[in-house]
């Protein structure tokens, strides 16, 4: 967002404004601090303090987080156990596969739909609305929809697959590791692509029409226009969107937890699911916090990358 820097020459007629001239480049004022105070206080209490607590927990051998009890001795045992644990590396691998597959899927579908509804045609407004509709379906409801579509006995997908001759008997989607992983990917792509579509459409609309007209005059084909105008102009938005989508997949809890609970055989147990399972399934809060801290570090690095790529967000 650009700062407003255009005011000049208004000062002489404004005696009161001299006391607080909001347009002056050096506007330091008690009011600025006062207005920030409630937010700083609340963020400190419900975000910063809990973050410190969880880092602290990750260095203690605690089972149930009881803040009123004396602190347990400092130990790095949680991290040592974590790095030696097969489950942790499995969760890393599952998370990595999810991030790659779902982000790619969201991107291809999001880009295709954005390019489609960026065309001018009758009903374009309706198409835009429909294409982004899954964004407005709560994650839990999306899971309900797909759990039924992929139901092992009467689900529509099994019927379609058999009709198409892809399989000869019904697939039990949620008891096969690779099939449930695939279903998780489908749900996440369906839920995630509208965000990409919305972001890219906003980017597409900011490309001046003149660029395309000039290219047409020079005889560029549709494919050349896409490669040489559209994609380069979208690069800044693409970068930010990619990081946001990857972070969403990385952190997502509800879809996987409600759909498969991380199973079968931990095939869909991502780092988020493992953190939650350890904390609230086995009440190993210290150990779970250690996994959480690792995911936190990944998130911070990724969001820093994004901010660096998009200096305009400041």
């Amino acid at each position: 967002m650009s700062r407003h820097t255009l005011r000049q020459g208004e000062a002489p007629t404004m005696p009161r404004a001299a006391f607080l001239d909001l347009a002056r480049p050096s506007r330091r004022h008690w009011l600025g601090y006062l207005l920030l105070a409630p937010a700083v206080l609340l963020i400190g209490l419900i975000i910063v303090y809990p973050l410190f607590v969880s880092v602290d927990l990750s260095f203690q051998n605690v089972n149930i987080a009881r803040l009123d009890q004396a602190r347990r001795p400092f130990t790095t045992a949680n991290y040592e156990r974590l790095f030696a644990s097969e489950d942790f590396w499995n969760a890393c691998w599952v998370t990595f596969k999810l991030v790659v597959i779902v982000s790619t899927g969201c991107f291809l579908l999001g880009m295709a739909t954005a390019l489609l509804v960026n065309n001018r045609f009758k009903g374009q407004a309706l198409a835009r609305l429909l294409v982004a509709l899954p964004w407005a379906v709560p994650e839990v409801i999306a899971v309900v929809i797909f759990a039924w579509l992929f139901d092992s006995s009467f689900g529509l997908m099994n019927w379609i697959f058999i009709k198409l001759g892809l399989v000869d008997t019904t697939i039990n989607w949620f008891s096969s590791p690779s099939a449930s992983f695939a279903v998780v990917c489908v749900v996440m792509i369906w839920k995630g692509y509208p965000f990409v579509s919305i972001m890219l459409l906003a980017g597409l609309q900011s490309i001046p029409e003149d660029f395309y007209n000039a290219a047409r005059v020079d005889g560029a084909s549709a494919w050349q226009r896409l490669l040489n105008i559209t994609i380069p102009s979208l690069m800044p938005v693409l970068g930010v969107t990619l990081v946001l989508v990857m972070l969403w997949v990385f952190r997502d809890f509800s879809i996987i937890y409600v759909l498969t609970g991380g199973g079968p055989l931990k095939a869909t147990q991502s780092l988020s699911i493992m953190t939650y399972e350890q904390a609230f399934g086995f009440f190993k809060m210290g150990y779970a916090s250690a996994i959480g801290v690792i995911t936190l570090i990944v998130c911070i690095i990724a969001s820093r990358l994004m901010i660096a790529r998009a200096p305009d967000t400041m």
């Binding site: 050096s26 600025g32 937010a39 039924w148 972001m199 939650y276």
Partner: protein
């Protein structure tokens, strides 16, 4: 630019096919809700029920405490949005208008806070709320949802205030308004559409939460939010997809309506701060 006829036909065909395919899961939810449970166990499936049972919604509302769940979700969302908006309007205005020492770093921190994993924050919050005896109460959800909402609303509002010319405040102050008065009487009324869109966005975030409700409210059945209630139905009635679908429609409806009526504003909010 004129398109030739073949291109037009292709464009319409692609558009219709794409929309139909992508929206089909939502359509199927509606079909499932309107079908008799035993009809769903027949193959080939019916793509529209012979006799849509429109009464299913009234029936499910009578059989299940869905109104209570929706009420809890609404209370939690209204509480969380009110709390978040109060602090974010002030903070967003300050970040937009004042050069406060540390303001830049605070802005960066808030931007990073948007990316925090809920599964990490939920552990210490559980400990803190247990000590405060808030587990099972909607207050725990209100505070937890504020951690989701504040980072978004603060950034959206800062971006919105940045688009309002500073001359407005200056004129108000020339007319004798105090700096605070200029903000309350001039800037906030002018920003009403932005404030409303931001608040609705916060509402959507709160309404969609599952992780916090699952953790803090599972043992307090009367305080279940809509999403939590739906997942318990899913676990319990594996066979009755038609009831679950009807309940799901009722839960998704508020958000779908907000989206349909306010698409433009919400989309503006989504892209604010990350796109130029």
């Amino acid at each position: 630019m004129k398109r030739n006829r073949l291109d037009s036909v292709l464009l319409y065909a692609t558009a219709i096919l794409t929309c139909a395919l992508l929206v089909f899961p939502i359509y199927w939810l509606v079909v499932t809700a309107l079908s008799e449970p035993d009809q769903l166990r027949q193959l080939p499936p019916k793509f529209w029920p012979d006799q849509p049972r429109w009464g299913v919604f009234a029936q499910i509302l009578a059989e299940r405490p869905i109104l209570q769940w929706l009420g809890n979700s609404a209370l939690a969302a209204i509480g969380a949005v009110t709390l978040s908006m109060t602090v974010s309007v002030l903070a967003g205005y300050s970040l937009s208008r004042f050069k406060v020492r540390g303001g830049q770093s605070l802005g960066l921190f808030i931007l990073t806070a948007k990316m925090l994993p809920a599964t990490l924050l939920v552990i210490p919050l559980f400990g803190i709320f247990r000590q405060l005896e808030l587990i099972g109460s909607l207050w725990s959800i209100i505070l937890a949802h504020a951690t989701l909402i504040i980072p978004f609303t603060t950034w959206m509002l800062k971006g919105y205030f940045d688009t309002i010319p500073r001359e407005l405040e200056q004129a108000a102050m020339v007319d004798g308004c105090s700096p605070l008065g200029a903000m309350v009487r001039v800037i906030l009324p002018v920003s009403a559409p932005g404030l409303a869109a931001t608040a609705l966005y916060g509402f959507v975030l709160s309404w969609s939460d599952y992780a916090y409700a699952r953790t803090f409210l599972t043992n307090a059945q009367t305080n279940w939010t809509a999403n939590l209630g739906i997942t318990t139905m899913k676990g319990e009635y594996v066979s009755n997809w038609s009831d679950i679908s009807a309940a799901s429609i009722l839960v998704a409806l508020p958000i779908l309506l907000i989206y349909l009526f306010l698409e433009r504003y919400l989309v503006g909010g989504l892209t604010a701060g990350s796109d130029k």
